[in-house]
């Protein structure tokens, strides 16, 4: 009884009905994910929806649907369904592939008078060619019936497809679970560690290439990757669509901005020096003083609509800065780079604007497995739709040549035209004309 209960469960988990149900649920959740704002703070949902809806969204994890337990559970169940289904079906497919059916299990395609000629293997092969069953395919002979088969691998079409989907899902989940992401940025000459690894990076060059019309054609960074001891591991150029790769880590050109040298003085004493990035601040915690580079205008213009930059070339540079003291804004203005900025006993020097590069660093494992899954899916689809297996059985009887075919052969197009061709072929054979 227990076994039968277990069998019932396995049968349910491997059934197509269960697979279809899972696909429908995944589809519904995917649609919800595109219309429901994702990744917002819980407060957003409480304020935007009714109390009941907000509770439902948050408790089911619909606000982070694609990383929710529910979504992952459905994909895991789908993988299980595909695994069981593939395992159970494998034996059946192999059996079907090897099986030589009795003619009673095939569709009779036609009877053709043979006249005085005697049917032989060559004549059968000639008939097979007219059905697209090539002569190089293996044939079997049983009880006077010659069996020819085509596209035997086609039996595995949907099996490969399912296996491919399963691999894509499993390797995607593995990739997500072990995903590493980080970033490095800086102006040429700057070095920084890649957090979470034992590597250090050094930006050697950053270049923006322009076309004649002024539009950007490419952003290119020259990067060097070093180990903790400063030994060079790899160096090279990377740009958009062309990452630099090392040991599973990929460096992507994802952004850029402006940065400048920044010096902070207290009276005549230099108390801080470094690089100041746009939309960032430089602080001296002991003094509770800081300066933020709010915006850099490479080609500054004051218009009716406010301050704008007319291009991204440094034709008329200007910057908007803000000075903070004890976390309070104390001064804000627009000045030219290098202009003196003073507040009380403090002075600030911001100069030498240049572009900095921003690189995203990812390491996603299992990509090869997912790619293999994708290939299997494509191969499976090709086999399923365009390499359908078929069996042709040909035999000589008293009333002539009888041809049987599997349902795939019977469903082939142009069977009427083929019928005429077979008659013509047999007539020519009888007349002794060499037909190949």
């Amino acid at each position: 009884m227990k076994d039968s209960g277990m069998m019932k469960k396995i049968k349910f988990f491997e059934s197509m009905g269960f697979g279809v149900l899972l696909l429908v649920l995944i589809l519904i959740l995917s649609v919800i994910g595109t219309v429901l704002p994702q990744g917002r703070a819980p407060q957003f949902y409480s304020e935007s929806y009714s109390a009941y809806m907000a509770q439902l969204i948050l408790s089911l994890g619909l606000h982070r649907i694609y990383t929710s337990v529910l979504f992952a559970g459905l994909f895991t169940a789908l993988s299980l369904n595909l695994l069981l289904c593939s395992t159970v079906r494998l034996g059946k497919i192999v059996k079907k592939m090897r099986n030589v059916p009795d003619t009673s299990a095939l569709v009779r395609l036609g009877i053709y008078p043979l006249g005085k000629q005697k049917a032989d293997l060559n004549l059968f092969k000639g008939i097979c060619r007219l059905y697209g069953v090539s002569g190089i395919q293996k044939h079997k002979h049983r009880n006077g019936v010659y069996y020819f088969s085509k596209n035997k691998l086609g039996h595995f079409g949907s099996w490969f497809l399912h296996l491919g989907i399963m691999l894509v899902i499993l390797f995607y989940i593995y990739g997500q679970a072990t995903f590493f992401t980080g970033d490095v940025y800086g102006v040429p000459g700057e070095a920084m560690p890649l957090e979470g690894t034992n590597y250090r990076t050094e930006i050697k060059e950053f270049d923006v290439q322009y076309r004649a019309d002024g539009s950007v054609s490419q952003y290119t960074t020259k990067l060097e990757l070093l180990d903790q001891g400063g030994r060079k591991l790899v160096s090279g150029s990377l740009n958009v669509n062309n990452p630099l790769r090392y040991n599973g880590y990929s460096f992507y050109q994802t952004g850029m901005g402006w940065a400048a040298d920044c010096k902070i003085y207290k009276g005549a004493e230099l108390i801080k020096s470094g690089i100041l990035y746009e939309k960032a601040a430089s602080h001296v915690p002991d003094e509770k003083i800081g300066i933020a580079l709010m915006r850099f205008y490479p080609d500054f213009a004051a218009t009716e609509n406010g301050f704008v930059t007319q291009s991204d070339r440094p034709n008329n540079p200007a910057m908007l800065y803000a000075v903070y003291y004890r976390n309070e804004l104390v001064k804000m203005d627009i000045v030219k780079p290098g202009d003196a900025i003073k507040w009380n006993q403090y002075s600030f020097g911001i100069d030498e604007f240049r572009r900095y590069t921003y690189l995203q660093v990812n390491k996603m494992q299992g990509q090869l497995g997912a790619a293999l899954g994708g290939l299997l899916m494509l191969g499976g689809l090709l086999l399923t739709f365009y390499f359908k297996p078929g069996i042709l059985a040909v035999m000589q009887q008293d009333n002539g040549l009888v041809i049987y075919g599997s349902k795939e052969i019977a469903a082939m197009e142009n069977n009427k035209v083929r019928d005429k061709k077979i008659r013509l072929f047999l007539n020519k054979k009888e007349e002794g004309i060499d037909v190949r």
Partner: protein
């Protein structure tokens, strides 16, 4: 001088006239109008191909990078598949249902800005050509499946007479044509998703990010995967399959137009939500 714009306009006019000719054929039941429709679509396709070729020469890249370019290529794809299917199956009434789809997408293209913009760095990839051109073929094939399915439902509804017997194929043939178009479209859609994933990995660092466009391609893929499952294993054919093919194409249109327009503000404005819920 005859350029890309004139070529596109000529194609638009020829497609409109073709649709008119096919509809006249269907109403008047006079065969000559279907022949006119057929030749007009072919002429339209010729001008359309010329327009796309001229744009390619002008920009030095395939016209697959903007809303206008994809729309005009999509319309070209439907037109190409329609002409192919019409020649292959010799169904005179197919144009009555396919040319309006060609027209809708061509008009949509006409409403978009056709301004030629320099290719931004993110689009400078050989994967763009593979990814988007397979999308054109996939969508074009699904559009033909949709047109044939509409034809199926109408053929099923109307009384059979000499005209339908002569010019509208048997329901089983229509069902089979729609299935074949869907199988090709599905294979291409799988290729679209896989090539898109490869490109996304090279450009963004992740091959799948559940971006609305990706997600809707995936949703469409599931819809057609379900169609193939229930058709091959549960014998869902004929009327049910025809309705399903139409729903599938609605999903294609949403993936293409709906996501770009309705969910366009997803990243910057925090997407659409329904506060009344």
């Amino acid at each position: 001088m005859f350029g890309e714009k004139q070529g596109f306009l000529a194609a638009l006019i020829l497609y409109s006239l073709a649709a008119l000719a096919y509809i006249t054929f269907y109403i008047s039941k006079r065969l000559k109008y279907s022949a006119y429709g057929s030749w007009l679509v072919r002429a339209g396709l010729l001008f359309h191909t010329g327009a796309l070729a001229m744009r390619t020469v002008q920009t030095s890249y395939l016209p697959l990078t903007s809303q206008y370019e994809f729309a005009t290529s999509f319309a070209w794809g439907i037109s190409l598949f329609f002409v192919g299917f019409e020649l292959r199956y010799k169904i005179r009434t197919l144009g009555v249902f396919a040319t309006p789809l060609i027209l809708i997408v061509t008009f949509y293209a006409a409403l978009q800005s056709s301004e030629i913009r320099p290719l931004m760095p993110a689009l400078q990839s050989k994967w763009l050509v593979v990814h988007v051109s397979t999308a054109v073929l996939s969508y074009g094939s699904f559009a033909v499946a949709c047109a044939v399915s509409i034809m199926y439902l109408i053929r099923d509804k109307i009384k059979e007479d000499d005209f339908t017997r002569a010019h509208m194929p048997q329901l089983s043939i229509l069902d089979n044509i729609s299935y074949k178009a869907i199988t090709f479209g599905f294979f291409m859609l799988t290729l679209v998703i896989i090539t898109g994933a490869i490109w996304a990995e090279r450009a963004w660092g992740r091959y799948w990010q559940w971006d609305p466009k990706e997600t809707w391609s995936f949703i469409t893929w599931i819809i057609y995967a379900l169609y193939l499952h229930v058709r091959l294993n549960r014998g869902w054919r004929n009327k049910k399959a025809a309705w399903y093919a139409i729903i599938g194409f609605a999903s294609i249109l949403f993936t293409y137009i709906g996501v770009n327009t309705l969910l366009a503000g997803y990243h910057s404005y925090g997407l659409i939500y329904w506060p009344w819920l």
